[in-house]
């Protein structure tokens, strides 16, 4: 059985290491914060200008001056700080942020990503996505393996307008953990009870399948 969005978030949470500053995008990436073990020292950054985000506020405790990049009300944890948006992207471009997790419409086997524009549809803008993908060394894409119509989102070449090139290194989907290497998509792990042929079928680009592909450990 393939993972749901929470399962994807749970698997990505395992990538967080002690001392990491982490930027989580909108959608599945936001859920990652729910699966971080309390003993891990990590801080969450939001690109509008906060480090050290905590959980959403309880009803009645929200503050109009405290939001994340998705405009949601937030709280801060002890040790938090606020700064302007140029400083915030300085943290990102300057590689002070250790891990970026974001969603995508398409990723291709060269590491290009498309997640901001569909020709013919209403374009809302790229927000901070282009800055994030062009700057971070450590980018994980969190997404479903296929779109609503069953088309693969892991492409030979992105067909949608690009957000960035040569940037994605790892993808976690409802079916698999995949790394992008020179020759294509390298299958690292499969979701519990997902067969390799299902992953092959759902992947358009070149999929490299090592002899032993372990099952994700989610508990």
């Amino acid at each position: 059985m393939s993972l749901n969005k929470n399962g994807i978030a749970k698997r990505i949470a395992q990538e967080l290491q002690n001392g990491f500053y982490v930027n989580l995008g909108i959608g599945i990436p936001t859920l990652v914060a729910n699966y971080v073990t309390p003993e891990l020292e990590v801080e969450f950054q939001s690109e509008n200008g906060v480090l050290g985000m905590g959980p959403f506020p309880l009803a009645g405790e929200e503050d109009a001056d405290l939001i994340n990049a998705g405009k949601q009300t937030i709280t801060t944890l002890p040790g938090a700080s606020f700064f302007d948006s140029a400083t915030s992207f300085g943290m990102i471009r300057g590689k002070h942020v250790d891990l970026t997790v974001l969603g995508a419409m398409e990723v291709d086997q060269t590491g290009a990503i498309a997640n901001w524009k569909i020709p013919g549809k209403l374009v809302k803008g790229m927000g901070g996505a282009m800055d994030l993908v062009a700057s971070a060394d450590n980018i994980i894409v969190a997404m479903m393996h296929t779109d609503r119509h069953g088309n693969s989102k892991l492409k030979t070449k992105c067909s949608l307008p690009l957000t960035g090139v040569d940037c994605v290194k790892r993808i976690v989907t409802n079916l698999a953990v995949i790394d992008i290497i020179e020759d294509g998509f390298l299958l690292k792990e499969r979701a519990p009870n997902v067969e390799i042929h299902q992953i092959v079928k759902a992947t358009e680009g070149v999929l490299i399948i090592p002899e032993n592909v372990k099952e994700m450990e989610l508990n």
């Binding site: 200008g49 109009a64 700064f83 302007d84 948006s85 140029a86 290009a112 809302k124 690009l162």
Partner: protein, 233 residues
């Protein structure tokens, strides 16, 4: 001390004309200069080029400027959540220039700091880079982006004194502190205008030298765009 205080909002906006380029602080509805926006929306001026992170909602914030058809060109990084804006964009009534958020911020900061242009990796290999100079530094490719040139910067701060020194609150600092002094004239509305000497110089975020006019905002609704709560455990 050099006094930056003006007695009212109309004095604060003196010199604004149709067709000017305006920077507006805020991100979403957080930290927007809501009093200045209201006055502009009800003014006789229009055809503005606006630089701001977002476009407000239909009936509040920057949204009021679209409702009253005051904007000719919008420079922004994310323009969702406003149906009147969408309508004007789709019918080509306004020109929209989408810019990566970090580039937008840096183009403001560069203008503030007297830097005419800078190289950034954001957007390399995408349509954003089209027609722009590309240079390679340490085998990575960068795009040349130029600082904005604006006539007015409209800013919201939490506290300010008569000398124009500013303190922001929470994530309302966002684009406000980097747009201050980034235009020919910078106008700041504050929630709390205090006499000089009341703010600790150690705690000033933006020194008054960047500010031309400051005034006490009349009222602040401070609407929340996306109220998200945790459920009690």
């Amino acid at each position: 001390m050099i006094t930056k205080t003006v007695e009212n909002i109309s004095r604060a906006l003196e010199g604004i004309k149709s067709g000017m380029t305006l920077m507006l602080g805020g991100f979403g509805l957080c930290g927007i200069p809501e009093n200045l926006i209201k006055v502009l929306a009800n003014s006789t001026y229009s055809e503005f080029t606006c630089i701001s992170a977002n476009v407000g909602v239909d009936d509040y914030g920057l949204g009021l400027l679209f409702k009253e058809k005051k904007v000719k060109t919008m420079i922004s990084s994310y323009v969702g959540e406003n149906s009147e804006f969408e309508r004007q964009m789709l019918s080509n009534e306004i020109e929209v220039i989408l810019t990566p958020m970090g580039t937008l911020a840096e183009k403001c900061r560069a203008a503030q700091m007297g830097i005419p242009a800078f190289y950034t990796p954001a957007g390399f290999g995408t349509e954003i880079a089209e027609g722009k100079e590309i240079r390679t530094f340490q085998s990575k490719k960068y795009i040349l982006e130029e600082a904005y040139q604006a006539d007015f910067a409209l800013i919201k701060a939490w506290k300010g004194d008569h000398a124009g020194n500013l303190i922001f609150r929470g994530t309302a600092k966002n684009f406000n502190s980097i747009m201050t002094g980034a235009a020919k004239t910078t106008v700041v509305e504050v929630e709390k205008l205090v006499p000089v000497g009341m703010l600790d110089p150690n705690e000033i975020h933006t020194p008054g030298i960047f500010v031309d006019r400051i005034f006490q905002g009349e009222s602040f609704e401070k609407r929340i765009e996306n109220l998200t709560n945790s459920s009690p455990q």
